[in-house]
Each structure stands twice: as structure tokens, then as C-alpha cells.
Amino acid sequence: MGNKLFISCDEATTICTKNQYKEASFFEKLKLNIHILHCKVCGLYAKQNSKLTEICKVHLDKPKCDKKMSDADKDALKERLKEFNQ
């Protein structure tokens, strides 16, 4: 990413994405913030990117559930394993 303080929108949005996973460095975050000060489009992108993270949190990181396989399924599975092992 180089050491320059002023970056393109492409770089800014890449850092923004890294930041969604808390993996952007301090210097990267600084560059992103400076960029957003003068670039409204990336500012909007950053806001929507955070929204996307929120949505993924709600719908993809499903809460731990406590589902079990039914006894019938387990018996069937045992049978198939036995057959497979012969």
C-alpha cells in the first residue's frame, strides 16, 4: 500500500474492508480517515460497508443452536457406517 498519506478511493475502500474485520493497521486507519474527510463517496461507502457487516453478523454468524440428530437418523447413519466398513 506504500507510505503515502493520500490514497485513492480503491485503496481507501480496501482499508475500510480490512477494518470491518479489525485487521487494518493504525496507519491504514489514519489514511482512511483523512481520505474520508475529503471524499463523500467513500464516506458513504464506509457507512454502507459497516451496515453490511452488521447484516452479516445478524444473518451469517448464527447464534449457537442446540440441534440434535434424531434417533432414527442416527440409527440409519450407524447402519451405513457399518456397511461402509465391511
Binding site: I7, S8, C9, D10, E11, T13, T14, T17, K18, Q20, Y21, E23, V41, L44, Y45, Q48, N49, K51, L52, E54, I55, C56, V58, H59, L60, D61, K62, K64, C65, D66, K67, K68, M69, D73, K74, L77, K78, R80, L81, F84, N85
Partner: protein, 189 residues
Amino acid sequence: MSEIKKHTLDPSKWVDAHSDYLFNYTITRVDSEELAKDIVQETFFSGLKAMKNFRGQAAERTWLISILKRKIIDHYRKINSARGKAEVKVNFYEEGDKKGSWLEERVPQSWNNEAEKNIENVELKGTLDDCIQNLPEKYRTVFLLKNVQQYETEEICNELGITASNLWVIIHRARHQLRKCMEDNWFAK
């Protein structure tokens, strides 16, 4: 027989001892119960085949989970690959004076405020799934590993043989595509 004290495998007890755990692990990462059952079964089959490679260094369940994780990755690679053949779109000028600036047609649009509030909506989940499935395979796999499996960057890089900067380019493009897809199909409606 008696020289093996630690960590042995006993396939006859696998179903009773581990199937609920493996099933639960899988169901939070794939969409249907049927599929989760299939993946658990495949995991046991692969386990049986690979038994001679078990060196007793890990507990039986840990060993099975490591097989299961690979099965889930395989599944991410396979799902709907017919639909996922679309290329990711370019979002920025790639050369010239404007290199790195937004392409006009890819500039984010304001989202509908009302739509933004209801992110727990079940239909939104459907749109999100469709958008994810429309990603090209490589992008979908990396995105899902990072977001659903919550793999560390390093783990994904090792697994797929890519560098960290490759990985960020892939996730960056995948999220651009997802953002646009959600905008077109949900937020701008």
C-alpha cells in the same frame, strides 16, 4: 494393543459420541438440515478411510472436526457454481489520470432509511444469500470462510494457497459486489 494409551479411535461409538456435536457445528454453517446430515455422514466415511493416518496426537473429536471443516470448505466451493460463474465487476478506473477513482456507474447510492432499519428481516436474509451465491466461486469461498467460519486470515491463506494481500483484494471485491447487489435488490427498492 496396550501400547496405545492416548487418543484412540473407536468408530463403533462415533455416532453416539460425536454426531450431535458435528451436526450442530455444521448446521450453523450451512443452510439445511439435510445437507448438514450428509456432511456429517461424509465426515465419518472419510474418517474411516483415513483411520490408518491417525497418529493419536489429537483427541478423536478434534480429529473428526478437522475433517468436517474440510468438508464444509468443499461444500462452499461447490454450491451453485453454475450461477456463480459471473465475473466480479470493476469498481474503479484501472488506468489513466483517474486510476483508483470510482467509476461513475459503480458509485454507491443513498439507501432507503426504512429498509436500513430492518436488518433482522427474514427476506433480507434471502436476498443476502442470493447475492452471496452469485459471487464467483473463489470470492464466495473466501468470503464465507472469513464471515461464517470466522477463520483467521492466515488459516485461509494456508488453506487456499494465497497471500494475505490476495485475500484482501478478494474480500474487497466480494464486498463491493455484495454491497451493490444488496443496494440493487434491497436498499434502493
